[in-house]
Symmetry: C2
Subunit: 322 residues, 2 copies
């Protein structure tokens, strides 16, 4: 059921001992890897992992990077220069490199030992989306090298995810329209999450709000909230609180309870409101970030519409040198 | 030269094999640990490490946490309930726990196997400050278990750091006053850094600006800047750019160059402007965060003064249940 490209990587992982996984990308491509770091932390008995922005990875140059490392990289157009450089750096150090990209003929594809070309369309089964591929690789590795038993359930659940996502998006439309109308004049909107979902909070803050809407933002970790950030909460401060289904849900529920007590502009996006159908309960926590991301994309569309500020508008990106 | 309490931990590390270090705390206490994660990544050939907010650590419950883990925790008053719970959780899993606190008779001190009571005063040699103790533990571990050779140089340099810090603070006063006057009406101030310094950018954003000044903020990673956040840069947006002395300085210089080209409110705090005296060049990158933190504390004082908003003002912290 998995693609030939993913299959080739898993085959290589039968032969090659991995001690450490590095998840390396920038911005939105990095954000989609956070859930895999969570999964590795929860599941891996021996294999260690770290997540870095590509430039940080190259300059930090971890001493542990070497032949027993698996470096997974991602760039949509495959042209992100920092990520291309990271792939080259990792190969030079003898690491196994696997890149995810939408462009088969791109610098990142050429710089990496293995390439997986993903799609982000409507395809069903949902196995060739970058979030899905990340889990196929990570759980594939854990299955092969540590005998982790969640692999089959996870792949089966990913394969069935498309209708869940479509229904969740449909369901979210009305609330998203309301969000767009209510916050079209907002100067700042915070996002909050924890565990497997933090990356989605980060993505919405930096890619949607800051990049595509020019609205100030910051993805606050729900557990860190009470150790500084919560002091900025006034009645009118908008906070989007994500509620996922992983083990850290109590952390998110706690920050939400506080925000709702003292704030009046708290938006809740709860993965539990979704019709999960036949998806196995044991892996819903890992899949929740994918659902939350699709739902938040609807929020992004409605915000852009209400503000008459298309999501494609840029000041600097791809326009000026940087 | 090291305290008896640090000595006892290092003695235990002669006997106990460590595979993984967990750095666990909340807010400002967590922020001061980021530099140690950087040092571990740069220096450790075998030992892995991760940094978590305390609640995230407890609920995430990493599968690798066990008898070969060293968990370093920190809480100033030793009462942070999430961190106390984290210490208990780690001990239950058989890990070696070491807590840093200002209060010898506190719940955290009682919950941990080893306790190091730090001071934050004017003491010279500068060896009993929490930042210093973090490095004593981390480089002590690397020295004992991996034969890392920077330990002696680092301890000698830490011991001599006090005059460097005092001079840096004195030198910063005029610029800090100017900063306070210029930005006393600011609604949002971003901070930016990378590598060993990112934790200081994070601390200034969440503990000083958000918590103590009720100013919106977000610590942007200098490498991530170009992948979303930079789109919010307009002429009047204030950004504090840290420049450290570690390997990632080019990342920070790149974000600064862009900000200075399109922004007019860019504040630079450069560890290179400091008189480092006899401090060995090979460890200045690791010590730069400590210097930057002391300098930014002066900025915090002057901002509070200019705004007539004392750093001790709180809306919620220690006042309402959360």
């Amino acid at each position: 059921m998995l693609s030939e490209q993913v299959g080739r990587v898993l085959e290589e992982l039968q032969r090659r001992e991995i001690e450490k996984v590095y998840l390396v990308a920038c911005g939105g491509s990095s954000a989609l890897m956070y859930a895999s770091k969570y999964a590795l932390d929860r599941e891996a008995k021996r294999i260690d992992s770290d997540l870095y922005s590509s430039n940080e990875f190259v300059y930090r140059n971890p001493a542990r990077l070497g032949e027993k490392s698996l470096v997974i990289l991602c760039s949509h157009y495959g042209k992100t220069s920092e990520t291309v450089e990271a792939a080259r750096h990792a190969r030079k150090k003898g690491a196994m490199t696997v890149s995810l990209t939408n462009e088969a003929d791109s610098p990142l594809a050429h710089a990496s030992e293995f390439v997986i070309v993903y799609e982000e369309g409507k395809e069903h089964p949902f196995l060739n989306d970058p979030h899905a591929i990340m889990y196929e690789l990570v759980f594939g590795l854990l299955h092969i090298q540590e005998g982790n038993r969640k692999f089959d359930t996870l792949i089966r659940s990913l394969a069935e995810l498309r209708p869940v996502l479509e229904k969740a998006k449909e369901q979210a439309r009305a609330a998203a329209k309301d969000f767009g109308r209510t916050f079209r004049e907002a100067n700042i909107i915070y996002t909050m999450g924890s565990g497997a979902n933090y990356g989605i909070a980060y993505w919405f803050a930096i890619c949607i709000l800051m990049e595509m809407q020019w609205i100030h933002s910051h993805a606050i970790h729900a557990g860190e909230y009470f150790h500084g950030p919560f002091e900025i909460l006034e009645k009118d401060v908008p906070i989007i609180q994500l509620l996922g289904l992983d083990e850290t849900r109590p952390v998110e529920k706690r920050s939400l309870a506080f925000s709702q007590k003292y704030g009046e502009n708290i938006i809740v996006v709860d993965a539990n409101d979704v019709d999960w159908g036949q998806i196995d309960e044991s892996v819903r926590g890992y899949l929740a970030p994918i659902v939350l991301q699709r739902v938040l994309r609807v929020y992004a569309e409605e915000l852009a519409e209400a503000r008459q500020h298309p999501l494609s508008t840029r000041r600097y990106m791809w326009k000026v040198p940087y």
